[in-house]
């Protein structure tokens, strides 16, 4: 079994995806991109509670890296086209996850993405987002519909945590692009110092 890095948002999907990977016997590390001040404390609290539950269930330590992402959002909002903000945001999340994977000697990245659920989860946006990294990406829920995911979340006890009140991401544009062009994304990204942003985020990350 391999060691992997799972992006955890606090939502319904990521703990279900993590559950499947743990059930297969993979050794997992969790990463939460901390979006404050564009959210409140609730996403991080939910991730901590999800992991408490899954650590107990699978008897795995599952270290949690909390990576500050709010300042990255501010930089992107000030300097790039808002329309593709979600794709750019995801590219920075993936890069951070990959850096942590290097540190943790993990061989794959994973998310709870399911095709077509939200703007960032269309095929073209997923391709644009993941073109920023090299490690293989595992998506255990890719073909699931929302109802199926919720059903599993209820059965493993994470649903009640995920659906607690919280502030959704305020950085999401009014009309996020559902199709993106990698050339345009790369041009937008040239407006910011990608390496410096990632360096700062990783330096400020904390492990819980």
């Amino acid at each position: 079994m391999a060691r992997g890095v799972m992006l955890m948002s606090g939502g319904i999907d990521s703990p279900v995806a993590l559950h499947y990977l743990l059930r297969q016997g993979h050794e997992m590390v969790a990463v939460h991109m901390d979006n404050r001040p564009f959210t409140d404390d609730s996403p991080l609290e939910k991730v901590v509670d999800h992991l408490t539950l899954l650590r107990e269930r699978y008897q795995q330590p599952i270290p949690l890296y909390v990576v500050p992402h709010g300042s990255t959002q501010v930089t992107l909002m000030r300097n790039t086209d808002r329309h593709v903000g979600c794709v750019l945001c995801r590219r920075f999340m993936w890069r951070s996850a990959e850096r942590i994977a290097e540190r943790e000697q993990a061989r794959f990245l994973a998310t709870g993405e399911a095709l077509g659920q939200v703007a960032s989860q269309t095929l073209s946006n997923m391709r644009s987002a993941t073109a920023s990294v090299h490690l293989p990406i595992v998506r255990p829920l890719i073909g699931f519909d929302k109802h199926e995911i919720e059903s599993v979340a209820k059965s493993i006890g994470t649903y009640g945590i995920s659906t607690r009140p919280g502030v959704c991401c305020q950085a999401v544009p009014d009309r996020p692009a559902t199709r993106s062009n990698l050339v345009q994304i790369l041009q937008e990204e040239e407006r910011v110092d990608v390496d410096q942003i990632i360096e700062d985020c990783i330096r400020k990350a904390v492990v819980l």
């Binding site: 001040p37 564009f38 409140d40 609730s42 709010g70 959002q73 501010v74 909002m77 000030r78 808002r82 009140p165 919280g166 502030v167 959704c168 305020q170 950085a171 009014d174």
Partner: protein
């Protein structure tokens, strides 16, 4: 005109929307808040003001108060209203419900 202060879709905050729409000049808003000693994060299309509670101020005029307490949100709204000269609701601001 802000008619209601309502719970946002995820239930974690209160929001106020101007009706009819009334875009805000965020440069002016930032200047006013900073002169009052309020720390502001400027993300170009929105400001995040370190009031009590933290408030997201969008260019569209939408205000998001990060609290689940309607009374706290309403108090913060009144403060912003006084600082920024926001139009008063005709019949008072009514919190639709308290999710707490």
């Amino acid at each position: 005109m802000y008619r209601t202060l309502r719970v946002c879709s995820n239930g974690g905050a209160y929001e106020a929307l101007p009706d009819p729409p009334r875009p805000l000049d965020l440069k002016r808003v930032r200047g006013v808040l900073e002169r009052e000693g309020v720390a502001v994060v400027d993300a170009r299309v929105m400001l995040i003001a370190a009031l009590d509670p933290e408030v997201t101020i969008s260019r569209s005029g939408r205000l998001l108060f990060k609290t689940r307490d309607g009374a706290v949100a309403e108090r913060a709204f009144r403060r912003l209203q006084a600082l920024l000269g926001l139009p008063a609701p005709e019949a008072g601001l009514e919190s639709e419900r308290n999710p707490a």
